[in-house]
Structure formats: C-alpha cells, structure tokens
Amino acid sequence: MSVTGKIWALHLGVLVMLAVAQAVLPAYHANNLARIMVLAVFAMGYNIAFGYTGLLSLGHALFFGFGMYGMGLAVWQVEWTFFPAVVLGLLAGGASAAAVGMLALRTAGVSFMIVTLMFAQAGYLTVLYFNQYTGGDQGFAVEAFARQVFGYDLAQDTPRAVAAFVLFAVALVLNLVLVRSRFGRVMAAMRENEERSRMLGYDVFHVKLRVMVISGLYAGAAGAAFGVLFGYVGANFATVQYSILPMLYVLMGGAGVVLGPLLGAVVMFYLIDIASGLTSAHLLVVGVALVVLVLFAPRGLLGMVRERWLPWLP
C-alpha cells in the first residue's frame, strides 16, 4: 500500500472506530467521547498553529470563547436558530484570531505567548464586565429551540453524539488535507526555519496570519459546538485554563501529528476523571503524568510512535 493509502486507511479507520465506540460504549463514556471529540477539534486547531507552524499561543481560550459566545449570544439575545448561530460562532472564532494575529504576530516566541495571553485575559474580563449581556461568570443555558437540527434534539444523547462525530470527522479530514497540501509544507517550513522560508520568498507574516485564522476557525467551531451540544455558555470557558488545555492535549498526544489532539484529549480527560475519583490532588497526578511524558516521550505519545515505528504518520 502506498504511503497515501496507509495514511487515509489509518485516519478513516480511526473514524470508524470512533463511530463504533459511540454506538457500543455505555452512556457515560459515549457522552464523554462526544465531549472529547469536540475538545479534540479545539486542540486540532491549536495543533495547526503550534504543532505545524510553531506558534506557541496562550490565547486560544479567546477564540474558543468567541465561538461559544458568538453562538450563545445569537441564540440568547436575538433568538437565532442552530445553523446561523453556529456559523456565527465559527466565524467569530476566525475573526477574533485574525484580529489578535494582526497584532500579536508582530512579536515572536515568549512575547507572542504573553501578548496572546493578554488578549485572552482581556476577553475573559470583557465577558465579566458586560454581565448584563453575557450572563457574566454565571453564564446561561442555551435555549431548547436552538438545539434542534433537522428535527433532532441535541439534548438527546444520540443526536448529540452524531453531531459531535460529524464535526470531528470534517475537522479531521480537513486537517489531514491541510497538512499534506503545499500550504501545509510551508507551515512546517515556518516552524523549522523561519528565516530560510523568508529567504525563499515566503511572506512569513501572511502565512502565519492565515494559520491563525484557520486555527481560530477550528477553535470557534469547537466553542460553538460545545455550547450548543452541552447546553451551557459560561465565562469559565474563556479563562486561561482553556488556553492551556488544548496545549496539554497536543503535547500529550503529539505535536505536529494529526491524531495527536484526539489521543491527548482522551488520555487527559480520563486521567482527570479517574484521578479525581481517587484523590483531591488529581491535578498533581496530571502534573506527574506530564513530567513523565516530558522525560520519556518529549514528542508526545504519537510523536514517539512516529519516531520509532511509523515515520509516515502525518
């Protein structure tokens, strides 16, 4: 089988496995899987910026939050239905990333991290400040009429699982196509050697800005989907924690590997779920796991797999 054949077989196989898992897992784990797939879409967006292009952002909570509030406020304040509200969330994520990118991409490295973090914090505080319009720290429940799609109620487990799966599948395929495209190789060139890319004639700023917008669209889609699928929009999703989570998923699963965010999200989700049942110091367990990871698999789980066994893994 050609490398392309292997790549598509693997990724489509993963999608089939996820679909089967959704059908056979007990309700609690099937619902967790729906959450994980939406969060993995968020992390995929992060991976496009960080794993493939080398943009270490601490501001992705802003894009996720824009997606969630774009969808949620359209429903709450102007009573938009599912499709226009979710599309607005998607576009809000992309637009916020474009705006932040225009300013933050004038910096690099640690400065880029700090500037993106500042924007995200400003976004979080803005949600609190405009409490009467955003629901502030309490947030608000997404009304039932916006959770209806093609006659199905997203408050029900099966339609929600299908919706999460469709979102994840589309995001995964687009991600795969993107990183294997010519532009995907330019992204990798930026990560590996920005100066050489510039010397070869690439406009570094515009490439990175496009990457930020794509990453923001992923985050916005995930934010809107999380809000509408699970019925709640809250300021908590705009805190710095939601900038760090996708980074942890990517680091755990493997930066610069398409399936890395999914694996990272699964491992981190269940690490927290199981550890919190055993000890109140569950974040310590997560911390120890990350230290072990850095010591023994610094490129993440799938990064290690690629290094040792599957060099063709995209």
Partner: protein, 428 residues
C-alpha cells in the same frame, strides 16, 4: 443506672429466658426485615472538594455524612438504606456537567444534590434536565427562582439571595441608616446584591448613593476606598474569597480611629474564617447577615443542639476536633435540610426507582410549610412549588467581643416576592 448495677447482681433467670425468646423471634423475622429494606437509595452529591469552593465543599461533605447517619440510624428512607456517592466537580461548571453525567449514568444514582456555586449550577442544570434527574441545589443563587433553569432543578434547602436581601433591608434602613454605599465584587454574585438591595432599600425610603464594583482580579483596595462618599451612613460590603481579609484590613486603616459609617456585610465574606484573625478587629460592633448563627445563641433549642452535635461543630462554630477549622455555618445547613426534603419527597411520592423521578419532583412541588424541627434546624421554611424555591428566616448579627450575636431575626413573610416563573407549567 439500675438496681442490678448497684448491687452487682446479674439478671434473673426469667429475664434471660424472655430475652432469648425475643431474640429468637427477632432473628426469625430478620430476613423479612432485610428483604423489606431492599436495594439502597443512591444519592449523588456534586461536591466542591477542590477549586474555589473547597472550603465550602469540606463542610458540605461533613454535613451530608452527618445527615446520612441520622437518616440511616432512623431506618433509612421508605425503609431502604441510603448511600451517598460524592464526586468532585472542582467548582468548575464544565466538570460539573460531567459529574452529573457520571453520577447518573455510571453510578446509577436516583438523584443528585449539593452544589453551591452558581456557575456550577448553571453549567450542570441543563445536563440534569436532559437526563431527567432531580437536581437539588444548595446554592442560595436566584437562578432557580428567576426561571433560568428547568423543571428538574429545585432549591428546597436554602433561601435565595434576593429573598435574603429583601428581608433585611427594612431593618438596615430603620437601625443603621438610609444612605448606603455598596462595595461588591464585579461579577454576577455582586450584581445580585447591587440590584436587589438597591431596590429593597429604595422601598424603605432609603437610597444607594454609591455603587463600587471591585474587579475580581484586585488584590488591594486602597484606590477604591476614597470613592466612598463622606455622607455614607451604611457601608454594605459583600467581598468574597481570600481578598476579603485585605479588604477589611485596608478599610480599618482607611477609617482609622475616626468616625466611620455603620458596616453591614454578608457572612459569605467570612464563611470559614475565624473572627479572631488579626486584622478583623475592625469589624467589632459591625453587623452581618447570617442564615444560621455560627455562634450558638442563648436561646438555641434542642434541634439546633442536636444538629451541631451531629455535624461536630462547637458553640463557636468551629469543628469540635479543631478550633481553627471554622464551619461554613450559614450555608451548610442547606445540605442537611435538602437530604430530609429528599426523604420526605421520596416517602410522599412512593418513589421506588428512576421511573418515579417525575413523581418525586411533583411531590416536592406540592410541598409548602416545613416547621422548625430536627429536619429543619435552621428554622421554619415555606417552599414555593411554582418557583422551586424555599423561603426561610434570616438573622442579623453583631460582632460583640469577637463573636457574632444575633440582634434581629426576620420572618418568612419578610422575604417573599412575586413569582417570576411557574415551573409546574413546563414539560418534564
């Protein structure tokens, strides 16, 4: 002590034989008793064990365990033993929804109760509604009675903040002053106080002359204190979290030994905090709202005494085993009372299993008056089935010699307000 104890004589032969007979009868009947008990009723507790609500979570868990022991020692609920399964939500709304899911779908609980923080309730209630599982919150937020949630979410154990504020405003206006400056955290909890108190004091002929919102990121307050107008008669403060100690200390430094307005605060600011903490001397003589008096009052009755003993709280409101471990006394009674409301609801509805969850909610909606009792040690309550909210008495206490002593108690009627929602008309 009996005569036999005094004389050292053993029991008579007749007594031994009677006892053996009774024992045989009891052992023969035992399998029937065990069978009648059936499978345990499993209650899920959404616990703030970690995160910003951990101080509350610690005491909520302790109160739940104490109430559980009392319930099981008295024969359980509807003759069935009761179990509580605790799951930590990290005081996080996203995790809160997952915990509701986990309790219901993995642990198979009959219903869920216990969360305090409003954002966790808001984030979790939609999932409870989707799962069609009763979700009984101990939060004091106005979110239930406002109509923002769903038919499966109820607050039968603690009065909401709107009612608390409305019931105390008349006393504040009559006894402390009518020109009020409010200092509150710049987020939803603070806005509830701002909006409801401003309206309530206006109804008493008073006026809020300044509203000072403090961003949650602030760690020092010196630049806000000069904003307090000189003509302020009452300074109403509801700062929350670790910053409250700094706030009070800086307030003391700001006014020094000179004249100062009357201070009125919500005990939320100082739950789990010892009034003997250095820096809090400035609060001597000031007033606080308390739902449940932390310090055992002189008129405390048998129910209060029994509740305190069961939970393990001393007369000063601290753990009997550690005087530095101060209870969240004004909130944690809601856990105790909610468990007994669950008991009453299950027994009234004939609840036998998850298929009867709707009947259980309907039984709760039919509840009205709950008298002061061992089940309701904080005081009498009145439940409004339409708004899913309970109303109770409130206390205003003054710091006297470093201890909170009650100076006024409101009535249930003082805190009633017009219904904003009728959940009973909503579909399940």
């Amino acid at each position: 002590m009996t005569t036999n104890d005094l004389t050292g004589q053993g029991p008579s032969r007749r007594m031994v034989l009677t006892g053996m007979g009774a024992g045989l009868l009891a052992s023969a009947a035992m399998p029937a008793v065990v069978w009648a008990q059936g499978a345990p009723i499993k209650l899920g507790f959404q616990l703030h064990r970690t995160g910003i609500g951990a101080a509350y979570g610690h005491w909520y868990e302790r109160t739940a365990q104490a109430a559980l022991k009392v319930v099981n020692d008295a024969g359980g609920i509807a003759g069935r033993p009761v179990e509580i399964i605790f799951e930590d939500d990290g005081t996080d709304p996203a995790r809160g929804a997952e915990v509701v899911d986990k309790l219901v779908n993995q642990h198979g609980v009959d219903m869920v109760f216990g969360p305090l923080f409003s954002h966790v309730v808001m984030g979790s209630a939609p999932r409870a509604g989707e799962l069609k599982v009763p979700y009984l919150v101990c939060s004091e937020g106005y979110h239930v009675a406002s109509g923002a949630l769903n038919r499966w979410t109820l607050q039968p154990g603690i009065t909401d903040v709107r009612s608390q504020i409305a019931s105390m405003a008349p006393w504040v206006a009559a006894n402390l002053g009518k020109k009020v400056t409010m200092v509150y955290p710049d987020y939803a909890f603070g806005y509830d106080h701002r909006d409801f108190f401003t309206a309530a004091i206006a109804a008493q002929g008073g006026e809020v002359i300044a509203q000072i919102a403090i961003p949650p990121t602030e760690t020092t307050f010196t630049r806000y204190l000069p904003q307090i107008p000189a003509e302020t008669e009452v300074l109403y403060h509801v700062m929350v979290g670790p910053a409250v100690l700094t706030f009070v200390k800086e307030l003391g430094e700001f006014y020094g030994t000179g004249p100062k307005p009357q201070l009125f605060g919500f005990i939320d600011s100082l739950e789990a905090v010892d009034f003997a903490t250095p820096g809090l001397e400035f609060l001597e003589g000031t007033h606080f709202w308390e739902a449940h008096n932390r310090v055992k009052q002189a008129d405390a009755g048998e129910f209060e005494t029994a509740y305190r003993a069961a939970v393990g709280v001393d007369d000063n409101g601290a753990s009997v085993s550690d005087a530095a471990d101060v209870a969240t006394y004004s909130h944690m009674f809601s856990v105790w009372e909610t468990l007994f409301v669950i008991k009453a609801g299950i027994e009234a509805s004939g609840y036998a299993g998850p298929a009867d969850r709707q009947k259980f909610v309907e039984a709760l909606e039919a509840m009205t008056d709950m008298p002061l009792s061992a089940e309701h040690p904080q005081g009498a309550k009145r439940f409004n089935g339409k708004t899913h909210q309970v109303f109770g008495v409130q206390n205003i206490s003054q710091v006297q010699g470093g201890k909170l002593m009650r100076v006024h108690q409101t009535t249930i009627e003082d805190g009633l307000y017009d219904d904003a929602v009728d959940y009973t008309t909503m579909a399940f």
